[in-house]
């Protein structure tokens, strides 16, 4: 038990620390004081309540995209197509919101459902092609990302373009109020927490937490979850156990795509109340880092998303107050992935050796 805790916490912690050290070296080479830059990064994100509001807002889509990647990982698949599923899901819920003027009791669940179903169907394309033709899901999902971005770009530029729009970036018209997920500041203010009304944190964050619990329950306590994990661990053995791996591949890609679709909800239903062309700058890819750092567990994913939310928030401040370009954060994220993967492998081997010696 202690060993498991050691693996699950120590390895990611060390990986993050090492990645930050690499970042510090780069800053030092650029003639900046790394302590100053990291201080700026943290001061603007976690030392005040509004900063935390932005951090959790940033973390919200990352939780969904991390869950999407993790669920696919559990089934032995690499879903690198979350970015595309996110765009399709975002557009689907925007389409519902601008088309149907309904009460929020119907509008919000339906918006979520649209994001899930369309994101899921987009994911299933890759699942079906993998199951039926054995086409490599990594390349297929990447191709589907480009197609999804082009498709939503077409939709928002042509049939769904807001009439008389002046914004240089194309967008749809505003959602009806029934599909708007409200912000949390009124509640927080009532509870005596002084959260500014400019902070976009909204209830999508809590929906994301609920989905963490759902995914955990699904994977650990249901038959489908069990079958997914069985196929992920050993597709051949699971076939002897009476599981059809092709069906599982399709199921996994639907569910993973559905979670990916939900990653588009925060921006559309909770923040802008419309679909903005190209709004997601790599959230689907950061989900890969989130899932790895969180070791594919829902609770780990929440913490990893918050960390990346801090980095995203801090990156803005870095741009304003220091000479270090914010893209360094992206490089640090990539280094975190590599170090986490190495750390996991390393500790795994170390424990294996210790166990062998103690026998």
């Amino acid at each position: 038990m202690i060993r498991r805790i050691l693996i699950n916490i120590l390895a990611p912690f060390l990986a993050v620390l090492l990645a930050f050290s690499v970042g510090a070296i780069v800053m030092y080479i650029l003639g900046e004081n790394p302590f100053y830059v990291y201080k700026i990064l943290l001061v603007n994100s976690i030392t005040n309540i509004n900063g935390w509001g932005y951090v959790l807002f940033n973390a919200t889509p990352l939780i969904f995209s991390g869950l999407a990647v993790a669920l696919a990982f559990k089934g032995g698949l690499f879903n690198i197509g979350v970015e595309g599923q996110l765009y399709i899901g975002a557009f689907a819920c925007a389409w519902f919101g601008i088309t149907f003027d309904v009460h929020p009791i119907i509008g919000i669940p339906m918006g979520l459902l649209f994001a899930m179903v369309f994101g899921g169907l987009w994911g299933v394309i890759a699942g079906y092609l993998k199951a039926r033709f054995g086409a490599h899901e990594v390349i297929i999902t990447i191709m589907l990302n480009f197609i999804a971005i082009a498709l939503t770009n077409y939709l928002v530029n042509n049939p769904f373009k807001e009439p008389g729009q002046i914004n240089p970036i194309p967008q749809t018209k505003e959602l009806f109020s029934g599909s708007v997920i409200p912000r949390v500041y009124p509640l927080f203010n009532k509870l005596g927490i002084d959260l500014s009304s400019s902070v976009p944190l909204n209830y999508t964050f809590f929906i994301a937490i609920i989905f963490c619990i759902i995914v955990w329950y699904f994977l650990e306590r249901t038959r489908w979850g069990y079958e997914i994990k069985a196929v992920g661990l050993n597709p051949k053995a699971s076939r002897y156990g009476g599981i059809n791996p092709s069906h599982i591949v399709i199921l996994v890609m639907f569910l993973s795509g559905a979670l990916g679709g939900l990653a588009g909800v925060n921006d559309v239903m909770g923040y802008r109340y419309r679909f903005l062309d190209g709004f997601s700058r790599g959230t689907g890819f950061t989900g890969i880092a989130v899932a790895l750092l969180g070791k594919n567990s829902p609770i780990g994913i929440v913490f990893a998303s918050i960390l990346f939310g801090i980095l995203d928030r801090g990156a803005l401040a870095m741009d304003v107050f220091t000479n270090t370009p914010r893209e360094l954060i992206r490089v640090i994220q990539a280094i975190i992935i590599i170090f986490v993967a190495i750390g996991n492998e390393f500790i795994f081997r170390l424990l294996q050796r210790l166990e062998r010696e103690s026998e």
Binding site: I142, L144, A150, I337, I338
Partner: protein, 296 residues
């Protein structure tokens, strides 16, 4: 109309479009024949495109740009090799991380060097080679590409090195028992793929655009891998497949202005790639130990 479209001009444009894909695809062949899946090729091409512009920008010599591109590609491939061969980390994870890193790194450096994130200043392209006695011009990189295709085909199938490399991809344990240094062979395959992928990226910025634009590879590294699969992990086959993709891209450019929304035209290469991947099923067999770490 068909005759007008299928002109010599179209074929030459298809050839040009196929160059970056072919280089990357050949890189993929070396890497995967040795048993290492290299989806980092996308990132390798991107740093190659960036390196070519940086090298040319500081020296005004595109050949220096070319060398810089190869060096940058080599360095990313080196990380992939260390992470996935020495540390035996899942090769897809390593490749994905490197692709993310390449996007961040090129924009980061672009802002430091050119003081602009979106794109670099324009640079001088390569001086085209002229066929003696004619007006025909050809990019030196295309000549290099054909040389590399032929050399790769010979190296992989007719030399001792190629035999050993293939052994490491088909059965590294058998290769090891025969005294072949599997780790070293796999390193060589991945590093060669870095150099070739860098060259492919260089063609994009030096010849196509004459400028570096953020994320300018737009999935070509992955399309190149699909080409490699379609070409059954052989250099000649990969080139043929990449030429097909180049043709699709050239046709795509012809279709612009026919009233079809540009977004749908942009989708063509990606859809063609997907169709190709679906079409090769059962006929293209990867090296048996492709993607599986070797542990002595």
């Amino acid at each position: 109309m068909i005759g007008g479209i299928l002109s010599l001009e179209l074929l030459s444009s298809a050839l040009r479009m196929s160059v970056p894909l072919t280089f990357a695809s050949l890189g993929g062949v070396f890497s995967e024949r040795g048993g290492v899946v290299n989806i980092a090729l996308e990132g390798i091409m991107l740093v190659g495109a960036f390196g070519a512009v940086v090298g040319t920008y500081f020296t005004n010599n595109p050949w220096v740009g070319l060398l810089t591109a190869m060096l940058f590609g080599f360095l990313i491939a080196l990380i992939h090799a260390v992470v996935s061969i020495t540390f035996r980390i899942n090769q897809i994870i390593s490749g994905t991380a490197l692709n993310i890193m390449a996007t961040g790194l090129t924009t980061f450096l672009s802002r430091l060097i050119f003081k602009a994130a979106g794109s670099s200043p324009h640079i001088e392209g390569m001086v085209q080679w002229r066929f003696p006695g004619t007006n025909w011009q050809i990019s030196p990189l295309i000549v290099i590409m054909f040389a590399v295709i032929i050399i790769s085909q010979i190296v992989i199938f007719k030399t001792r090195y190629g035999l050993r490399l293939r052994a490491c991809g088909e059965n590294p344990y058998a290769a090891d028992s025969l005294g072949i240094d599997v780790i070293r062979m796999r390193y060589s395959g991945v590093l060669i793929s870095g150099i070739l992928g860098g060259l492919g990226g260089a063609f994009l910025s030096l010849e196509h655009a004459r400028v570096f634009v953020e994320g300018m590879t737009t999935g070509r590294g992955f399309i190149a891998l699909a080409g490699m699969i379609f070409g059954r992990w052989t250099p000649l086959g990969s080139f043929s497949a990449c030429f097909l993709f180049g043709l699709a891209e050239a046709l795509r450019m012809r279709l612009e202005g026919f009233g079809i929304p540009t977004q749908f035209i942009q989708m063509i290469p990606y859809i063609v790639t997907m169709c190709v991947l679906i079409g090769v099923v059962g006929r293209a067999v990867a090296p048996a130990y492709d993607g599986i770490p070797f542990e002595k």
